[in-house]
């Protein structure tokens, strides 16, 4: 997520983008400094979370958690959701659904003709969804990101 230029210039941080930023290896190759770096032939690109975590950038979206019906899964208000719309829903997935006019975060338990939307908090009840409900699975959560500091 960072784009670091050589230590002879100021560090610029670029925002997260769909396409991967061109990561420039941390150590300058020595053209300017005038010495050949022993690391020159071994350089690898810095770890880029866009590359590692986002497998399908075109179908990846983000959401913000509001409420506490998922706290037993350690998902709290304010957490960031990485949502992939291209994934086929699987039984037990954490899914962003659209039900009764709003986006909602639930575990989905898929039976033959029925889907159960399961919260992670004793104070909330599972919801049964049938073909009659106005319901879609909007996307599957691949990562949840919680800010610590």
């Amino acid at each position: 997520m960072g784009c670091k230029k050589s230590k002879y210039m100021s560090i610029e941080i670029h925002k997260i983008d769909q396409s991967t930023l061109l990561p420039i290896p941390f150590a300058d190759e020595g053209i300017r400094a005038g010495f050949p770096s022993p690391a020159q032939d071994y350089m690898q690109l810095a770890i880029d979370l866009n590359q590692e975590l986002i497998h399908n950038p075109a179908s990846t979206f983000y959401g913000r958690v509001v409420g506490d019906s998922m706290i037993d899964a350690q998902i709290y208000e304010g957490d960031l959701l990485v949502i992939d719309k291209s994934l086929e829903p699987r039984d037990g997935d954490l899914a962003v659904c659209f039900l009764d006019g709003e986006f909602t975060l639930k575990y989905i338990d898929i039976d033959d003709e029925v889907i159960w939307l399961r919260p992670a908090n004793n104070h909330f009840k599972p919801i049964k969804v049938t073909p009659d409900n106005e319901f879609i699975v909007w996307g599957i959560v691949t990562y949840t990101i919680k800010k610590r500091r």
């Binding site: 784009c3 670029h14 983008d17 769909q18 396409s19 991967t20 930023l21 061109l22 690109l45 590359q51 399908n56 950038p57 075109a58 179908s59 979206f61 983000y62 959401g63 913000r64 958690v65 509001v66 409420g67 506490d68 019906s69 998922m70 998902i75 208000e77 960031l80 959701l81 719309k85 291209s86 962003v96 659209f98 006019g101 709003e102 986006f103 909602t104 975060l105 919260p119 879609i136 909007w138």
Partner: protein, 430 residues
Amino acid sequence: MYALVDCNNFYVSCERVFRPDLRDKPVLVLSNNDGCVVALSNECKQLGIHRGVPLYQIQDMIKQHDIAVFSSNYTLYGDMSNRVMQLLTDMSPDIEIYSIDEAFLDLSGFDLIDLESYGRQLSRVVVKSTGIAVGIGVAPTKTLAKIAGRFAKKYPGYKGTCVIDNDEKRLKALKLTDISDVWGIGRRNVTKLKALGIMTAYDLTLRSKSWIQSKLTIVGVRLWLELKGTPCIEREDSRARKSICTSRSFGEMVSTYDELAESVAYFASRGASKLRKQHSVASMITVFIYTNRFREDLPQYTTSQSLKLSSPVSDSVQIVEAALQALRMIFREGYLYKKSGVILQNISSDEAIQLSLFNKKDTKKLNKISQVMDEINRKNGDDTVHLAVQQMDRNNNTANEQAVKWRLKEDYKSARFTTNLKEIIQVNAK
């Protein structure tokens, strides 16, 4: 063969992705300054509203039918368009992005595949990944592909993909296409042609080449040839291209990095020179490599890598460097590669920098400032140059807001769901 991929009601579709509750409801999108209707859903069309209608004229109808109104959110539409185009790029050998919601795919070499199921697969992937539905027309020429695309959208029987792959289908399609719906024939020419008894695309093809030449000039002749099945509309026309793709299949398959790198470097520098030729700069580059999909006995590996360049460039050195960087990220040993390509994207004019008010000498600083301003304008969807930071920040309601008459009116704007972390969807855990 060409495929035209055309998003259905694009602006409306974009808004509906983030408002699934509006799927079957009337929705309309307004032009800049909330002036008039620029896009509308089928439900609105049925109510008699059409594009270009001023907002004030339909306020009553809006209340009466509970129509959802949106200001244009080009930041959102641009990003959604990028996603659709990225998916199409990944699934086709050669893409020409024609507009924000249309792309031509050059399918030469795809003769052996079932074009209809290929089209269905394309649209399935696009709608699943982004929520945007598309109509696909496949035909021997771009003009015919556009016609096929119209049929795909209009008649549900095609299930989203219409293929014109023989003369019988071509003639049938031409007979059912009004001359006003032919790509490239403007309103005045339509009137002229209709007065001469030419009502359908088919009627036009019955005339002689010299007749066409005299009435519609060389442009008309190209169109006429295309309708008859001969491709002749080049990618290189006077318009600056929005993306430049340079790629080729290899005569023989290639397995080493060095050989692949040679091809990629060549395509990158060819692309760079095309870029300079049209006085553009590019800020994104995509490199793709393919194994031979028809050799099922061999391991398959098809992939691409996009890189955003830290500043828009058109010089070959930086572009080739970036292309090779991308190639290094995706190259794998043990495969026999059949094709590679380089796409230069996010193309803009290099004049934007030259026309600046600032001293031309300090181009480095100039580039920097242009970069920042371009970035800010891109985020806000405005082309207006902003002079003060407060006026660019939508959340800061300064006292000056009312006084600034040139600031865009956008009362119904949806959030920038995909480009601004402060504006992403709220997902309820309640």
